[in-house]
């Protein structure tokens, strides 16, 4: 059997672990730049605060009901996510399994979700195992989770959705062990709520009169092959019928491309400021590049101008982008910055206001300059050691203690994060205080 463990209102939960005064109180977390609501506690949902809407649209409800509002605090969420996942790995014996059989027991699916292989648990022990997992994660990390268990990943996702629908009745746990249980769950789930059914397929299916997951599960495999994208469609049907077709996967450790994109805190029209922003994003991206020991062959830059219509100021204007192929793949920040800044100069138009910029490093290859290389010029090895030293300083001192001059000193364009909480679990200066 496979389980999906999913944190309840994850970002809100992270904020509340350290704030007992907010337990059982409405809380929301805003996206980058304080634009949209990206997480809400159950109490906030009951007040009618919708997901993924711009902050200002919910502002009247939030102010009237004294809902606590937080800017996103990714340092905190990242650390709490690691704690939850590590707890799951310990509970599942993930390390031992990787050593013995080469197979993982835990697959981190997103920042707040993980699949767990529970094939070693007998069927009559699944409910108590789920309770044990749930209680341990809550006890160790303070984050509450919902768990769905079924023979396949797709059914586990479906079970979890049902568990979350009525938390009081389910106790946040749903196990679909028998055919009857799976059938009942499929019958009460709409096709567009199935994991793996995208919006385009969902509307097609509904047009064909297939509205519930149960109806979809009963379609012949050949039909799925013709109408639902070949093998992917067949896999989906099998998964819904309880035949595991999507296996536990190793995490994708090395990324195929690395991107850094941010909104500006305010509209920016000065070329110098955009260059600074882009240089900063390149520094961030090249740090990630070196962490996975890759070098990039292609640098892309895009900038987004502000929509002229001031009433719709949360709508994005046109995106213009350009890329350049480097003569030789590199992981050196200053070489990448040089290329990127050149692109900014080409893209920039005087008089326009910009609200967002991003960089992307692609064409990634293994970085053979990582080890001092006998066959490259000495200077290149020295650059490599310089990068290594900068990365180490920034890792241990945090927050870009050492950086390139082109990334600017003031950073007026930086993201708005007016309501960010402390980095309670990662910074000495932000530790929570106890009386």
């Amino acid at each position: 059997m496979t389980a999906i463990v999913d944190c309840n209102s994850f970002y809100c939960s992270c904020e509340r672990v350290f704030r007992p005064d907010l337990w059982n109180q409405p809380v929301v977390v805003l996206s980058n730049n304080d634009g949209c609501i990206i997480s809400r506690s159950d109490e906030a949902r009951k007040l009618g605060v919708d997901m993924a809407i711009p902050y200002f649209q919910a502002r009247h409800i939030i102010e009237k009901n004294k809902v606590s509002v937080f800017s996103s605090n990714y340092h905190l969420y990242g650390d709490m996510s690691w704690r939850v996942m590590e707890t799951l790995r310990i509970l599942a014996g993930d390390m031992e399994s990787r050593e013995r059989t080469g197979r993982p027991k835990v697959e981190v699916y997103s920042v707040d979700e993980a699949f767990m292989d529970l094939s070693h648990i007998p069927p009559d022990g699944l409910v108590s195992e789920a309770k044990h997992i749930k209680d341990t994660v809550e006890q160790w990390t303070g984050v509450s989770v919902s768990i769905g268990i079924a023979p396949t990943k797709t059914l586990a996702k479906l079970a979890n959705r049902l568990a979350k629908k009525d938390k009081a009745a389910s106790g946040c746990i749903s196990v679909l062990a028998t055919d009857a249980e799976q059938r009942a769950a499929l019958q009460q789930t709409r096709v567009d709520d199935c994991w793996g059914v995208g919006r385009a397929y969902a509307s097609k299916l509904i047009n064909w009169g297939i509205t519930s997951a149960w109806e979809l599960a009963n379609m012949p495999e050949e039909w799925a092959h013709t109408n639902m994208g070949g093998v992917t469609g067949v896999r989906l049907i099998r998964e819904l019928r309880g035949i595991a077709a999507i296996t536990m996967e190793e995490e994708l450790v090395d990324k195929k491309m690395i991107a850094t994109t941010r909104m500006f805190g305010r509209p920016v029209h000065d070329l110098r400021e955009i260059k600074e922003a882009v240089a900063t994003y390149i520094s961030r991206a090249s740090e990630k590049l070196r962490r996975q020991e890759s070098a990039a062959g292609v640098v892309s830059v895009f900038i987004v101008s502000k929509e002229q219509d001031h009433l719709a100021n949360f709508r994005q204007g046109a995106t213009i982008s350009n890329h350049t192929t480097l003569p030789k793949a590199t992981s050196l920040t200053h070489e990448l910055i040089k290329a990127a800044v050149g692109l900014v100069e080409q893209l920039y138009e005087k008089g326009k206001e910009y609200k967002k910029a991003g960089v992307m490093l692609s064409g990634l290859v293994p970085d053979n300059s990582i080890q001092g290389n006998l066959f490259v010029p000495r200077a290149e090895n020295e650059h490599r050691f310089l990068m290594h030293t900068i990365d180490n300083i920034n890792f241990s001192m945090r927050d870009d203690s050492v950086k390139f001059g082109s990334s600017g000193m003031n950073k007026d364009w930086k993201m708005r994060q007016a309501l960010r909480s402390g980095r309670y679990s990662t910074r000495w200066e932000d530790l929570i205080r106890v009386r």
Binding site: R83, V84, E86, I90, T141, S425, I432, R433, V434, R435
Partner: protein, 144 residues
Amino acid sequence: MELEQFYGLGYKGSKRFTQHDIPTANATGFGAAADDYMERGIDLNEQLIRNKPATFFMRVSGDAMTGAGIFNGDVVIVDRSVKAANGKVIIATLNGEMLIRRFEKNFNKIRLVPETPKLSPIDVDLSGAEFSVWGVVTYVIHSL
């Protein structure tokens, strides 16, 4: 301080830590010989943290626990995976506040006892108060 005070035999936790680079002693010119005897050096995390995903640091603000050697401004290490037993120093949440106190449990009565004459013990009214044990304090870091 004996570790066994906090952790029973059946204890299962993680002590996995990131390994840091060990610089060689090449610069001093006696590289090779010293390299043979190079080891990781003392890591406080190893001694002070039993279960990393459940361990948090907090700063003490006030004099509630001076009698237990925990002073204003000290950092305490808190393990959420340790069971709160009678007599342990804990981080309690009481009506939305985080408090550091000694935990006293007798039958169904819970008391939060400070270690200073300046404050009095709190009898927790389990029917009316919002109370929980946030974690158990395992170490204090105090600067002299």
